[in-house]
């Protein structure tokens, strides 16, 4: 056996060179792709530190004397307010989605009541509905009900459309938690609701975290509902503010526009590069499960 390997060694030097070349090429391809994923954002960042004239003179060079004026201007033209609105929508929606998904998923997983399968299918269908088909009727429905253009308006579609994937994930995870835990808790005298929230819910933390991650990004970045259901400047979210109000104010001022874009991205950037592994796992949880 050993002699066999030694005999093949001379022939291997040619293939080793081929291997080395393949390695260099492979690393180069992946390296260049990595660069295209990050460089546009890096370019936007350092360009946002330039004046308009500096930018026009040389679009790719680093700023000679970095300035923060564009950021001051961005905050002054309401980007701060839009960010705050987005932050509030995200926090409340995600909390509600996690709670409702957990409770609903738990009941669908643990109990075989009449209509259980029908109910599960009913929630599942929501994942197939293209939200753009509901923009018009949703607008009219909320307008008739007097629910348009308020701080809570966007929470309704965000939570409603966040439920299906959350329920599916929670249901399948709870199925893997042993039932003996509830039995032991009941013997110890814990009531139903107490067991549900203080024993089972903490055990479901991994899946609840995945749901929270998926929905945080979804709500933070959501655009069409925020575009049509909100009209007053006071409640506009960051993506909509950026592409409507802020854009028209900075139409030809690219560095200014870039500063606005960067402000909406800072929280995402920080959170992503701190917790990238958990976020990748969470965001792909639905697909990997399916």
């Amino acid at each position: 056996m050993r002699r066999d390997i030694a005999a093949r060694a001379p022939a291997n030097s040619a293939s080793r060179i081929r291997g080395a070349i393949a390695g260099i090429l492979g690393n180069a391809v992946l390296g260049i792709f990595s660069l295209t994923c990050v460089f546009p954002i890096v370019w936007m960042f350092y360009s946002s530190l330039k004046t308009q004239t500096q930018f026009a003179l040389s679009t790719l060079s680093l700023p000679v004397r970095p300035i923060l004026d564009n950021y001051v201007a961005a905050i002054q033209s309401h980007m701060g307010l839009y960010l705050l609105n987005t932050l509030r929508n995200t926090a409340i929606s995600v909390a509600l989605i996690v709670l409702l998904s957990f409770v609903t998923g738990y009941f669908l997983s643990r109990f075989r009541f009449r209509g259980r399968n029908l109910l599960y299918a009913y929630f599942l269908i929501g994942m197939l509905i293209p939200i753009h088909a509901l923009l018009v009727p949703m607008f009219i429905q909320l307008k008739t009900a007097g629910l348009l253009d308020s701080w809570y308006t966007l929470l309704l579609p965000y939570v409603g459309f966040g439920l299906p994937i959350g329920i599916v994930l929670a249901e399948s995870y709870v199925g893997g938690i042993p039932r003996e835990l509830e039995e032991a808790a009941a013997i110890d005298g814990s009531g139903f609701s107490r067991t549900l929230f203080t024993i089972i819910m903490p055990l479901a933390a991994p899946v609840l975290a995945a749901i929270a991650i998926i929905q945080s990004f979804a709500v933070w970045n959501e655009f069409p509902f925020a575009l049509i259901l909100i009209t007053s400047d006071q409640w506009i979210t960051a993506p909509v503010g950026l592409s409507t109000v802020f854009r028209s104010e900075h139409f030809t001022d690219y560095p200014g526009l870039m500063a606005g874009i960067m402000t909406t991205m800072v929280p995402v950037l920080i959170v992503y590069f701190l917790f990238s592994n958990r976020i990748m796992k969470g965001m792909t949880a639905g697909a990997v499960k399916g």
Binding site: F33, P40, F55, H132, I167, Y254
Partner: protein, 297 residues
């Protein structure tokens, strides 16, 4: 007492299920019914709302812009299937090689665009394709290729391709991570024994790895198809459906008919059209992929 702590009565179950059920019905089911009702009326948002029977549907069937938009959606979907999933598979297989370094770094940076909002992605690529200051033309000029520079987003004949680029770019990493997790769940023993039998890395990829991740690829294809009916944000930012209607997609079209032209009745009809077409696409792809999967087993 103990029994109730384990098996709550029907009222308790109902009370716990009710909040999600009510909200979901109000947000998802009611609007579908609303769109259906709307689709039979002529209504410009005022007091006059006339029943029009199937009039709007007759208009929809002959509406060139609507079908052009749908065709654009299909084209973008095909570009994405090849671009996103194709490239993602290649990268995932490359990452399986021992020759590749700093895999974790690559995974993190490649996935990064998937966390950005499509609005930001739209802006980024508007800047890249910009005629005067865009990175694309700047780089071309740098290499003396001035004759290749152009206003990338102004040419109706190629616009669909160029608005697809950001969408492809944004999700390559997302699909790569999904495929990687399937690849990593393959028993390493299988690959080792293939290696001992003298399989090259290309043979290992095509004969062992790919057949073993077919289920995940099927899920990725489904996600790609159902996700592409939702394209709206980046096109809103990049071209707003233009020049003319050349980069219009169905979601953009329903927005324009209803909220720019205030034709709510017809907007409802377009909504129902989108709903039916996207369900048909999903069912079709499920049948195609599902059929092949069963035969494979």
């Amino acid at each position: 007492m103990k029994n109730r702590a384990l098996r709550p009565n029907a009222t308790t179950i109902l009370l716990y299920l009710l909040p999600a059920l009510l909200l979901y019905s109000y947000i998802v089911t009611f609007p579908i019914l609303g769109a259906l009702r709307l689709s039979f009326f002529r209504w410009m948002g005022g007091a006059r709302m006339e029943f029009d029977g199937l009039g709007n549907y007759a208009t929809l069937l002959k509406d060139g812009i609507f079908w052009q938009s749908f065709l654009n959606n299909v084209t973008i979907t095909l570009v994405c299937l090849v671009g996103q999933i194709g490239i993602a598979v290649v990268f995932a297989l490359m990452l399986g090689s021992r020759l590749i370094r700093s895999k974790g770094f690559f995974r993190t940076t490649a996935f990064f665009p998937a966390t950005l909002s499509a609005v930001v992605v739209g802006f980024v690529w508007t800047f890249i394709f910009d005629y005067r200051f865009g990175m694309m033309n700047t780089v071309l000029r740098l290499f003396g290729l001035d004759w290749l520079t152009k206003a990338w987003l102004d040419d109706p004949s190629t616009i669909v391709l160029f608005v697809s680029v950001p969408i492809v770019w944004q999700y390559i990493g997302f699909y790569m991570v999904i495929i990687l997790s399937a690849v990593s769940s393959i028993d390493p023993g299988v690959l080792e024994s293939a290696e001992i039998d003298g399989a090259t890395s290309v043979q290992k990829a095509f004969r062992v790895t790919l057949p073993m991740i077919m289920d995940t690829l099927a899920v990725a294809v489904m996600l790609c198809i159902s996700g592409n009916m939702k394209i709206f944000d980046s096109i809103y930012v990049m071209t707003n459906g233009g020049p003319g209607n050349s980069s219009m997609v169905v979601a953009m079209y329903v927005y324009k008919t209803s909220f720019i032209d205030s034709d709510y009745g017809y907007g409802g009809t377009v909504s129902i059209g989108i709903l039916l077409l996207s369900l048909a696409l999903i069912l079709l792809s499920r049948r195609l992929i599902g059929g092949r999967r069963e035969r494979g087993r």
